[in-house]
Symmetry: C2
Subunit: 362 residues, 2 copies
């Protein structure tokens, strides 16, 4: 087991990363009160709920559960309210703990509920998807969607502890595993060429679900995000680097309709586009671009998107939050493994990078 | 105009207190972005919305409004969501400002919306009831009710500025004015004998709506709360003093059904009960007790409640949040103008204090 400490001002919490974590032992110091509400969904509950209930009961805690329906479309205020209903119906008070057991959807909703119930109660996160392990574990973002926008309503809420158990990834659908690998590749491409080399060597193991390799990848990814977030807690600068591939990816997701492609899949193509534009700008070599495409393909992720009319693609891109005052800012690679936030690129090259990575007739 | 600065760690904000405040001039430094959402209700909107819209338009801001239905029963998640709907339908972004124009209900809901929209946007408070001026202006508590409990869901959110305009109190129903005076008397009784003397001299002016007297009372009250909250931001100790009269009052409110009596009215009787118990304990004199009753009556507030079966009264009292581990802690007066948090009182005297201040047959 590896332990990563996330340092954020006066808040500091550990992420325990390993396989078959001894949760009973590890949980103990992080729950002061008696009551623990486990928030999960109807896919994850049959798989892992019992384990957590048992561990908590052994710790002499009173547990209750709130089992939401599975899916991003249930990440809304109505389902958030079901968590409040459960907390209050169970007579939970301000000393209680909310434990999120599930992927990013559950983590975001349970975290927001923990931030808001009684104006803030203890929050513990058990991310059970690779994506949520490497992304939701660090940064404290929680929230819900609104019909008019994703993640529009929420809070910053740091967990008191995070458990990332690789063994739980064994039940994850392969497409979801690859979606998580997409964000892992992102960390390598934006700031760690050595990690990229490591991934190139270990990708076969990762896609096969090798728990030791996964743990190492999760550890390195969380460490990267933790460092970037700590440097820029309020999202003024460096944190934008985490959006490598996301402006392009956002356009793909929006055009196809959220849910058609997984976020990680759209980001994968987005990273290819960012790499291609960086190449056209003369910043990375043909070989570098090939390496980007290759690692993405090794992770069973797409390297091109369906055909999307350019004007629509561009308009979706500029709806993206990273657009300030009408100017598009992109995260591009000045060299492989070193991304920057920049407005200084050739717009025609950008268009070319988009078009080059679409597959006609799809 | 008087200005009170509330100091809370790295957050510091002014409360402007006066009559006919020059809001256009005063608002200017506190709104960086272009968009301002005014949240108000259908009672307050016809009275004051135009004034604020005009001032904001003169400042070159884009305004929109969200007019909720008036009443505590609308302080719920459905109406909170109407604020989010309005923000998103108007295309508001994370640089926007939410301005609460109304009493405590509007302040609590708009504040929670400001805390949660985009995980936090600028918040400005214009409390238009006396109660919200002296209570909601300081402390940063925001939130909504749940069918199973009041104020169960919310956030701590400090405003960037508060405007308390005495002129707006001219339209307030007299009962609501008195309810605000109840909390003002509380500040005097819990920690400021000199303020009590001042109130005794000025109560006729206050109930008549004298704006200068009201401004002084609001200033002193907010200063008291600010000092107490700053000493105890996380509600571990001293802040409980602010609950003088509230454990008894809570029982009265609960028994009668929320909304029958105003909160300030129930607290008024609660303060009499606390004073009577303090007297029975030998801590304050007969004359002191008479002074407490007199100032409360001067404010047109009740000094006794309807008959409530003692066992029910006690059971409602112990549902109160200030009960720790089954022991009732009360805020009592060690001397007049000096309250303490204590478990050291005679329970029979407590029962007697309750019974002595009920009116049989009501
Ligand atoms: N808070 C943050 O910082 C942050 C970061 C990234 C993404 N997110 C959010 O996270 C969400 C995406 O997260 P996600 O990719 O984990 O999606 P998800 O939570 O929808 O999980 C994907 C699917 O896998 C299932 N699943 C989860 N764990 C499983 C397991 N161990 N075995 C089998 N199936 C399992 C889920 O039930 C779901 O069907 C989005 O809502 C996004 O906005 C938040
Ligand atoms: N956040 C805090 O720290 C805090 C503190 C105390 C109370 N509260 C909350 O505040 C609420 C009570 O506040 P309240 O007493 O202001 O109640 P309120 O907001 O319901 O206002 C009382 C009534 O007066 C009306 N009104 C408001 N301003 C008016 C004006 N200028 N002229 C005419 N009518 C006007 C309102 O529409 C309402 O009908 C409760 O929900 C309570 O939980 C919060
Ligand atoms: Zn992402
Ligand atoms: Zn009160």
């Amino acid at each position: 087991m590896q332990t990563l400490h996330v340092e954020l001002g006066d808040r500091r919490y550990p992420i325990f990363i390993g396989s078959h974590l001894d949760i009973q032992h590890l949980l103990k110091p992080y729950i002061q009160g008696k009551q623990v509400m486990i928030v999960t969904n109807d896919t994850v509950a049959p798989l892992y709920l019992e384990t957590y209930k048992k561990a908590l009961t052994a710790l002499d805690k009173v547990t209750a559960q709130c089992i939401l329906r599975d899916g991003e479309k249930f990440k809304n205020i109505e389902n958030l309210n079901l968590i409040f209903d459960a907390l209050l119906a169970s007579g939970f008070n301000r000393d209680c703990t909310v434990l999120a057991l599930g992927g990013g959807v559950i983590g975001d909703m349970a975290g927001f509920a923990a931030a808001s119930f009684q104006r803030g109660v203890n929050f513990i996160q058990v991310p059970t998807t690779l994506l949520s392990q490497v992304d939701s574990s660090v940064g404290g973002k929680t929230g819900i969607n609104h019909p008019l926008g994703k993640n529009m309503i929420g809070a910053f809420k740091q967990p008191s502890v995070v458990f990332a158990d690789m063994n739980q990834l064994s039940t994850l659908p392969p497409r979801e595993l690859s979606a998580g690998l997409s964000e892992i590749i992102k960390y390598a491409l934006l700031g760690d060429i050595e990690f990229l080399a490591w991934l190139e060597g270990n990708m076969p193991k990762l896609v096969a679900g090798d728990e030791q390799a996964l743990a190492e990848a999760v550890y390195r990814s969380c460490a990267h995000k933790a460092r970037i977030v700590a440097n820029d807690e309020h999202e003024k600068g460096e944190r934008a680097l985490l959006n490598l591939g996301h402006t392009f990816g956002h356009a793909i997701e929006s055009y196809l309709g959220y849910g058609t492609w997984l976020h990680g899949e759209a980001v994968a193509v987005g990273m290819v586009m960012a790499a291609e534009l960086s190449h056209l700008m003369g910043w990375i070599s043909t070989e570098d671009l090939a390496r980007v495409k290759h690692i993405i393909q090794q992770a069973n992720l797409p390297i091109y998107c369906p055909e999307i009319p350019l004007d629509e693609f561009l308009s979706y891109m500029s709806h993206d939050k990273k657009v300030l005052d009408g100017k598009i800012r992109l995260i591009l690679m000045k060299k492989l493994g070193h991304a920057v936030i920049t407005e200084e690129f050739n717009v025609d090259y950008m268009k070319q990078a988009i078009l080059n990575n679409q597959k006609k007739g799809e």
